[in-house]
Symmetry: C2
């Protein structure tokens, strides 16, 4: 085998061996480098304010108010325009966040440790559905909910986790996949299983009954609660394959709503970017494709690892939600993704596909060779600031990211004899 | 269409329209007719003590001690031999119970109402796995757990249900089927979803924190907790098709560990019986088929309605647990059952089979005609009293039940011109 094949095999092995565990509840201010109230983490590759899409701008304005820096969107906008706000992309500090992906100073984060390699990854708490900051909504109820998460939910989770010990996410994800979750647009099983893991401990550590009821109602009332845990788990696995020389496996995919970015293991921290595509899917009543924003969020880390759209064959119940036609079509998506991946997971098995493992480790060479683009299951945000979610669907990663990355790879990394 | 076809169509419609809801937590002594401490309900068709299998005898002796009538199995045996204990089968009083199916005076029951037809059905609480009374175990820890269920768990459930209102089981079952439960040997999803329904209310009504933690640990620690709710739901649906003239649809299947009994809608309360078969399946470490008791339990009410073995095609994750070979084989089981059923459920859909409904309404004519016997997913009890569960597998209903029923039907119900 050549240097590339060896490197890719190694990357696949690391993805497969990764063992993410929820080890802590922390605050951004306590764990992230150079964090202050004026620093805002966002989804996707780096982006300037003037290039941000509507929902990302809406979320940023809300995030500034959430941190108590001002009272109104207008004031917040002035702060941004005057350069007081420092933007950085989440991936640069071991973080991921769904959709707009806001991570600010006061926010609590899930800390997920990859037991196999010792690295950590962080993700925000899931806020629920509808009008939420990750979809660009920023009204008073959005800020209030985020404050409640910070001040009541997260402290209770921290105490509960201290009591029961870490929650192994690979085990939960394996079970949830066998229950029809692909863990991007469908987390019903994983969220339910997680409730079972944490509920007894929450009951044990929460003295105030009204508080416990609020917490129980929140975590039992949200089928997507687990998404953010899945994302941190996938990030912790994907980070384990960073910087393997000669490796053509994708180590990150992410979108800021304007640009789709791809990182490749053997190409270090460079993002290969192209315009985000529009998801094709189903819109909530009252909305159409006209209202939708292009693809956005760090959540494509799910597909980077091998779940989400890649695992659709094991999650036939999701197909109608994301606008696919049939269980057979879902299987086709997964079979296609198998063609662009280095291997099939040895543990994340899909019973409905006769216990085949999910495709894992996207090889940019295979993407370019086959023309099969990574398929991503995603939520759809309204294109204007402040509205929220308007649908869900399927989107592809743009081809230019892969051809550009492959060209860069051929030019910068390959010795003459391996050039393709 | 003939009288039979019309009657069978009506039976299917009733099964399909049935809408079971958990409406109450009650005690056997308060709701069952002619109930006293000396009356013991058991699974299957009626049976005498001398004909009972080992696990059923073990459960009976334990049940007598649970009711405080004596201290030892020997004393309990003397009470039985001297005729002090009255046995009756659960189906005779709108009840079902898994495996040995013990229902005694002090036991709490789930009350499930079929909203479409107004009838009610009852089932005991699930005790957990391993050494439990339903599998014939009867040691002190078994009795202690049952007392705890009676004195702490059930009262909390009652208060919680009063607070939140009824839990619609058809909705939960529909969701759980889409998550790979067939709801007989696999209830992981349904149990998890049920926890989410009840946990906030339990937190709200339970003042004692230690009590709440015990309750949360119990209900979150048992993947099969929902089984008993599924059984009551199926019983409430099956009872809605009793006594339809000219109807050849099965209204009950049940086993007492010695005899398998089948009831047919148009044949009233008669049981058509044959010897129970041995399940084929997988045994827990240390046990073999030598240790297994023949098929036992009221839980075949699941298959009577159309879930369990009939829904295996929608529950590929169960196949390895019950000893089937592949997801394709699971689909085959479901397709076979479609051939002996009157219709496919319009609501209980299987995403992995392209949203096909589960087969529902077993027609004894089709069973005899095709030779395809109803397939049942089942737990396996040790054949000796006092041991407990030793495995899980797949079993068939015996053909004689159906040929005998069909003969009786032809003889007693049919006018000359409809005879077959």
């Amino acid at each position: 085998m050549g240097l590339i094949d060896n490197a890719n095999r190694e990357a696949f092995k690391r993805l497969d061996k990764s063992n993410p565990e929820l080890t802590g509840i922390v605050y951004a201010k306590d764990v992230l480098p150079e964090m202050d109230k004026y620093t805002i983490g966002h989804a996707g590759p780096p982006i300037k304010w003037e290039d941000m899409c509507g929902p990302l701008k809406g979320a940023v304005l809300g995030a500034i108010r959430y941190e108590g820096l001002c009272e109104t969107d207008v004031e917040a906008g002035v702060m941004v325009e005057s350069g007081k706000i420092k933007f950085r992309h989440n991936h640069s500090v071991d973080c991921v966040g769904p959709m707009t992906g806001m991570i600010t100073y006061s926010m609590p984060l899930f800390e997920v440790s990859n037991l196999a390699f010792g690295n950590k990854a962080y993700c925000s708490f899931n806020e629920g559905l509808g009008k939420v900051m990750r979809f660009g909504a920023n009204g008073p109820e959005v800020i209030k909910r985020l404050k409640w998460i910070e001040e009541e939910l997260a402290p209770a989770f921290k105490k509960a986790l201290d009591r029961r010990g870490p929650v192994n996410l690979k085990v939960l994800m394996t079970k949830a996949l066998a229950m029809g979750d692909e863990m991007h647009q469908r987390n019903t099983a994983a969220s339910s299983l997680f409730v079972r893991e944490i509920a007894p401990a929450l009951a044990a550590v929460t003295d105030n009954k009204e508080s416990l009821v609020r917490i129980m109602e929140f975590i039992t009332g949200n089928d997507q609660f687990f998404l953010n845990l899945a994302m941190a788990a996938c990030k912790s696995a994907a980070d384990a394959i960073k910087n393997i020389p000669y490796c053509t496996i994708v180590s990150a995919m992410s979108r800021n709503g304007t640009k789709f970015g791809v990182k490749v293991s053997g190409l270090g921290d460079a993002w290969f970017e192209a315009d985000c595509l529009m998801p094709k899917g189903l819109y909530f009543p009252g909305f159409t494709a006209e209202d939708g924003n292009p693809d956005i969020g760090d959540s494509a880390i799910c597909e980077t690892y091998g779940i989400g759209g890649f695992a659709m064959g094991g999650a036939p119940a999701v197909v109608r939600f994301v606008g696919a036609q049939s269980a057979a079509e879902a299987v086709e998506f997964t079979n296609d993704m198998m063609e662009i991946c280095e291997g099939a997971s040895s543990q994340l098995l899909m019973p409905s596909m006769d216990f085949q493992g999910v495709p894992s480790g996207i090889d940019i060479r295979k993407v370019v060779e086959t023309g099969l683009l990574p398929v991503i299951n995603t939520g759809i945000a309204h294109k204007e600031a402040g509205v929220g979610q308007v649908g869900a669907g399927i989107v592809r990663a743009p081809m230019d990211c892969f051809t550009d990355a492959l060209a860069a790879f051929a030019k910068k990394v390959l010795p003459e004899e391996e050039q393709i």
